[in-house]
């Protein structure tokens, strides 16, 4: 440490500087990668159906904008709905496990067991049961994404300090009071972490569901374009899937800041 006194810099200015310096390396690396990619494809004259150049992907993106946006909306709706259903079901299972001992002991091992089923393999079955529409995608997202929600909430509810529980016991608090006044709010930071994982998994669930059988959505576009050897369009759709993923992740993070303003913040510094 230097022996210089701590200077009281304006917070906003230093925060901006910190944000810039933390983002800048990533942005530079990304731009460099894109330039190198473009250069390699052009120099070695790589066929565009193997690796399209970034400029070709951009052209495809512009040319197919209408189709892609329509597909993005379909996929986004699946992700959003599937995510909400996953969180609701995941929270409900965690609550039941904690509130009812017997049911919890019955349910928890089954949930863990089910977690080990390769759920992607369920996609064809869901298509068989629910058809080509929205339902099989929601079902698939649910089975893929509810588990981190349940597990993180359980961990949060079960990590309440013993002496806090003793305090509650000392005034004769009921189990339900302890659950809703202590355990549930205490679990929210954990739950929000699980929710962010569920947001990412929801994107995967939607795309896998569309691969297995769909007539619309970005997953369908990717599959269709790859059979046409339109690799630029595949990449354009992939780019939009990634944007969707990032958007949902940050939506979950904003939700976290609203729901648990007291939770410790993690910085990438």
């Amino acid at each position: 440490m230097s022996d210089q006194p701590m200077t009281a810099e304006p917070r906003s200015a230093s925060a901006f500087a910190a944000a810039t310096s933390s983002w800048l390396p990533a942005v530079i690396l990304l731009l460099a990668t894109i330039v190198a990619w473009e250069a390699v494809v052009r120099i070695f004259a790589i066929s565009s159906f193997i690796i399209p150049a970034p400029s070709e992907i951009a052209q495809s993106l512009v040319a197919q904008w209408g189709t892609l946006m329509q597909a993005t909306l379909v996929t986004a709706a699946e992700i959003l709905l599937g995510f909400v259903v996953s969180v609701v079901v995941g929270v409900a299972i965690a609550l039941v496990i904690v509130r009812f001992d017997w049911l919890g002991r019955a349910l928890y091992p089954l949930v863990v067991l089910f977690q080990n089923v390769p759920k992607v393999a369920l996609a064809p079955i869901f298509i068989l049961w629910f058809g080509y529409g929205l339902a099989p995608k929601i079902g698939l997202i649910l089975v893929i994404a509810f588990f981190p929600v349940t597990l993180s909430m359980l961990a949060g509810m079960q990590s309440v300090d013993r002496s806090l529980l003793s305090l509650m016991d000392s005034v004769g608090a009921s189990r339900t009071q302890i659950l809703f006044r202590i355990r549930v709010p205490h679990s929210l930071p954990n739950l929000m972490a699980g929710t962010k994982i569920a947001a990412t998994l929801s994107v995967i669930g939607a795309i896998v569901g569309e691969f297995a059988g769909a007539s619309d959505g970005l997953g369908y576009v990717i599959q269709f374009a790859s059979t046409q050897l339109d690799t630029a369009l595949v990449f354009a759709a992939l780019l939009l899937v990634s944007v969707l993923g990032i958007a949902f992740y940050y939506a979950a993070e904003i939700l976290e800041r609203i729901v648990v303003p007291w939770a410790p913040k993690f910085s990438h510094a």
Partner: protein, 276 residues
């Protein structure tokens, strides 16, 4: 002068000393096949300030939990104002403070202070709870910090909220398990001083578990020393130093004499070769 008929121990003359509020008779606790407490006899006079002191593992915290109704003794009986500890707790006669303040991070100080009261008495409205919480925060010297969340409070302030939370129940007895154990020495001193003031203003009976000899003598009227393996009471001292006491009392020759006496007592009860 006529004043000499009144005992000089801090506005608590002898005539207000009633029967024992807490009476422990022959209490033993066996936990995981270990004798944690052996044949404890203890009485705590109403309105008194009693400390339990002893080395780690002597069962002093377990004894406090027995008093709070959180641990069922294996044998023996405990009476708190004629009731069992669990009954007494249901009647809000017991307030508990642990070493960790255990505040809810999502609630502000005033809501934390009224938390246990709200659970114990569901008939109280939110406004009534807030008013009671605010009143208790003022009692512990945190009237200005009602809307601060725990992460905006220092360790000492958090512990003050924990004391306010216990006092909000208006308990007959305050059971405190090393409440200042995690605080730095300076904060610890001022917390002890505040606790004395709160005690004198509220007239609560206080049972304090501590491992600080100075703290026990500075604050209490009676100190019970506990020995280890098995946990048992090995000696008791009455602290005759007059109240109100401030930190200057620690320089009093009588204080120093009591420190030596208590230290000797604790050393004698500490089994040789067990210097943990």
């Amino acid at each position: 002068m006529r004043i000499d008929t009144i005992r000089a121990d801090g506005g608590k003359p002898a005539h207000i000393r009633h029967d024992d509020l807490i009476s422990v008779k022959g209490v033993s606790v066996v936990y995981a096949r270990q004798l944690v407490l052996q044949n404890i006899d203890l009485s705590v006079p109403k309105g008194s300030f009693v400390s339990l002191i002893g080395p780690s593992g002597c069962g002093k915290s377990t004894l406090l939990k027995v008093l709070a109704g959180l641990v069922e003794p294996t044998s023996g009986s405990v009476s708190i104002g004629g009731l069992s500890p669990v009954e007494a707790a249901r009647k809000r006669m017991i307030g508990v403070v642990f070493q960790d303040a255990n505040l809810l991070p999502w609630k502000n100080a005033v809501d934390n202070a009224s938390l246990l009261l709200g659970i114990a008495d569901r008939s109280l409205s939110r406004a009534e709870l807030r008013a009671r919480g605010q009143e208790m925060l003022e009692l512990v010297g945190l009237g200005d910090s009602a809307h601060k969340r725990p992460n905006e409070l220092s360790g000492g302030m958090r512990q003050r909220v924990a004391i306010a939370r216990a006092l909000a129940l208006d308990p007959a007895v305050l059971l405190m398990d090393e409440p200042f154990g995690a605080l730095d020495a300076i904060t610890r001193d001022s917390m002890g001083q505040s606790l004395l003031e709160i005690w004198q203003r509220t007239g609560k009976t206080i049972v304090l578990v501590t491992h600080s000899i100075d703290e026990a003598i500075h604050l209490s009227r009676h100190v019970h020393a506990l020995g280890i393996k098995p946990g048992r009471i090995t000696g008791s001292i009455d602290i005759g130093l007059p109240y109100p006491r401030d930190l200057a009392v620690t320089e009093d020759p009588e204080f120093v004499r009591l420190v030596v006496q208590l230290r000797t007592m604790l050393r004698a009860s500490h089994q040789p070769g067990d210097a943990s």
